[in-house]
Amino acid sequence: MQMRMRSSALAASVAMLAALSTAASAEDWKIGALFPLSGGLSVLGTEALAGSEIAVDMVNEKGGVNGQKVVLIKADATSPANATNEARRLVTREGVKFLTGTYGSSISLAIAAVGNQFKVPYWEGAAVSDELTQRGYGYVFRLNDNATAMAAGLVQAVDEIFAPKLGKEMKALKIAIIHEDSAFGTSIAKDFEAQIKEKGVALAALEPYAANTQDLSPLVLRLKELNPDVLVATQYFNDAVLLWRQARNASYKPKYFVAIGAGQSTPDYRKGVGEDAEGVLIADVPSAGVKADALVPEAAELQKEFIKRYKEKMGKDPASHSTRHFSAMHVLLTKVLPKAGSFDPDKIKAAVMALDEPIGSTILGFGIKFAPEGQNSRSFNVILQWQKGELVTVWPQRFATAAPIMVPLPDWAAK
């Protein structure tokens, strides 16, 4: 009788321990993940985190990294002050030796600063501020596109798609850029202006505005008055919808319009403006899919798998920041950590710097070759377009799954 009791007690405690060990065990790879999960950026932060989580799940299903499970230690970071606090908590309290994140430039800079202080590597997934890799931190790495790359995507659209259609050189075009005035919009607009300046082009107008505005009619009226040949936009979701709706009301249709992939590339945008989304060109990562042979087979497979899982998990198509985070996390877990063997910062850095893969190697089409300051030099933007309610890649031809249509955009369709 006593034997049975003891063995059932033993069984019970084993079961309890097993249940408790859903928490990270000592040998697991503990990776800190800081995202804005509340506040104004919560949607974007949650979507970005989802991308990371899917990568972790997929890798764990295949046995983890070097046989060990990967566990994300998540934290809500919505401002530089609480990002700093939470990052420090993860490092000193949770024993995290590797940080990832995030959405929002000021937040990513704060996390990077903490990482730098503790010599903990920071692997950035989506924040685009150029400054992140310009501060001289030794262990900050960004696989994905930064503001410079995004601006380059916009320039490419203007130079290679619009200018030929207009029959003029870019120098002769009247180009206006509007941008929401947070760090995101401001840095991209600044980079755009600088990049076209190098090509000898001056902007006709640079119009910032506050993203949380309820009314863009003054901006629309100004644009209507200015009547630029080309309109470039860096917007978040709500203002993107507002612009299009109020432009319609004012009977102003920009003929040559390209936006940065934030506001215009979410499925919610299509819902918000309906048919008017047709033809809108967007510079973004090719999260919508690229020509099958533009990617190496593994990457193509991975992309399909990711989209499928994301749809299951979130009930909608992945937004580009989700895909960015998935790609970044996947590369980290499959190409960096296995080689580094541990979280030792110098081993990590060596593994990162040793990577050399051509364009087409990752699901976003990026290659991998990190510059010394930590930015992947083979990241870039392609041009997407809304066609028949879907986002397709239309430029450059190497990646395109469809040809660009509606260049120039037609007048507002009657409703």
Binding site: S38, S79, S106, R135, P208, A210
Partner: protein, 330 residues
């Protein structure tokens, strides 16, 4: 306010004890933030508590302090220690000007004007990109350099913040007991009566605004030197104005120790909630925070410190076992 003197001393000393006893970086970071908010709440209290002028735009001064010292540092290599004073003076000037402009406004009208003022500054900070780099923000050199207000050890930041808080506490305490303090008391109880006593309420108000603005700006410089990055949202955001005032109100605005208790309670509460609930269900920690605020205000409308004093008084009466001598009060 000299009741429970020892308790107040203990409360003041507590953060230092914790800082010395531990080397945990997270604790030091949290402590620094708690103490910094203590400074801000004390500064707000000078206007909002002593003069009972409710400003929800104090972040304007915070931002002036942060940007002044940072721009002087980046542009002219001026030590932020000096920049702090410059920022404080500039903020005090702004405060006095604001006070002049709004001198006829009372209650909610004054409050709204302060909100508008702070928003104007925030939007200016976003748009005067040539000066402030707009929303991209300004980054400060993080090389440790005591002369430039950058410390290698987090513990030093705790010390400095603590010294600031204690200093401001003493100043508040002395102000409360000074003649000016009495005048402020008269002013906030009944402005008309105070005027009829010959108190120049106009100058008094401006004085309170200037002083309050000065120290808020000092807090702003500290913030800039602590995080080494500022942008319009983080130093001109309305949530900072609200938090400053909230802490003082929760702690108890009638005293110098009130804002300190407030910060000991409110800031860690927010941090713990975020750490425990933040990643789980987005927003839950803030729902709890909001409800907690209502609860505290409901149970202790004049703040925690007065409630604490009442509790202590009740307990000590109960503990009195000796029969009071005739003619004395227990």
């Amino acid at each position: 306010m000299n009741n429970n003197f020892r308790l107040q001393l203990a409360l003041l000393a507590a953060p230092m004890a914790v800082a010395l006893l531990t080397s945990d970086s997270f604790i030091h970071d949290s402590l620094t933030q708690v103490l910094m908010w203590g400074v801000l709440a004390l500064a707000w209290n000078i206007l909002g508590g002593y003069a009972r002028q409710i400003s929800v735009g104090h972040v304007a001064f915070f931002g002036i302090g942060a940007y002044t010292s940072t721009l002087l540092r980046i542009g002219f290599d001026v030590s932020p220690w000096l920049g702090m004073i410059a920022g404080g003076l500039l903020a005090a000037l702004a405060g006095v000007l604001l006070g002049l402009v709004t001198f006829r406004l009372r209650g909610p009208f004054f409050t709204m004007a302060t909100i508008a003022f702070a928003e104007v500054l925030r939007i200016l900070a976003v748009n005067l990109r040539g000066l402030t780099k707009g929303s991209e923000g300004l980054t400060l050199d993080s090389t440790p350099n005591v002369a430039m207000f950058v410390f290698g050890s987090l513990r030093t930041y705790v010390f400095v913040a603590w010294a600031m808080m204690v200093g401001l506490f003493l100043l508040s305490w002395m102000l409360g007991r000074s003649k000016t303090g009495l005048r402020l008391l008269a002013f906030r109880e009944d402005e008309t009566a105070a005027q009829s006593l010959g108190i120049n309420t106009y100058r008094l108000r401006l004085f309170a605004m200037g002083l309050s603005a000065f120290f808020t700006a000092v807090g702003g410089t500290f913030y800039a030197q602590f995080l080494l990055f500022i942008d319009p949202d983080s130093v001109f955001g309305v949530d900072i104005s609200l938090q400053m005032a909230l802490i003082a109100v929760v702690g108890g605005i009638g005293s110098a120790i009130g804002p300190i208790i407030g910060t000991y309670l409110v800031v860690p509460f927010g941090q713990v909630l975020r750490a425990e609930l933040g990643a789980q269900l987005a927003g839950l920690h803030l729902v709890v925070y909001g409800l907690g605020l209502i609860l505290v205000l409901w149970k202790m409308p004049d703040g925690v410190w007065p409630a604490l004093e009442r509790l202590i008084a009740r307990l000590s009466r109960r503990n009195a076992t000796t029969v009071p001598k005739p003619g004395t009060v227990a």
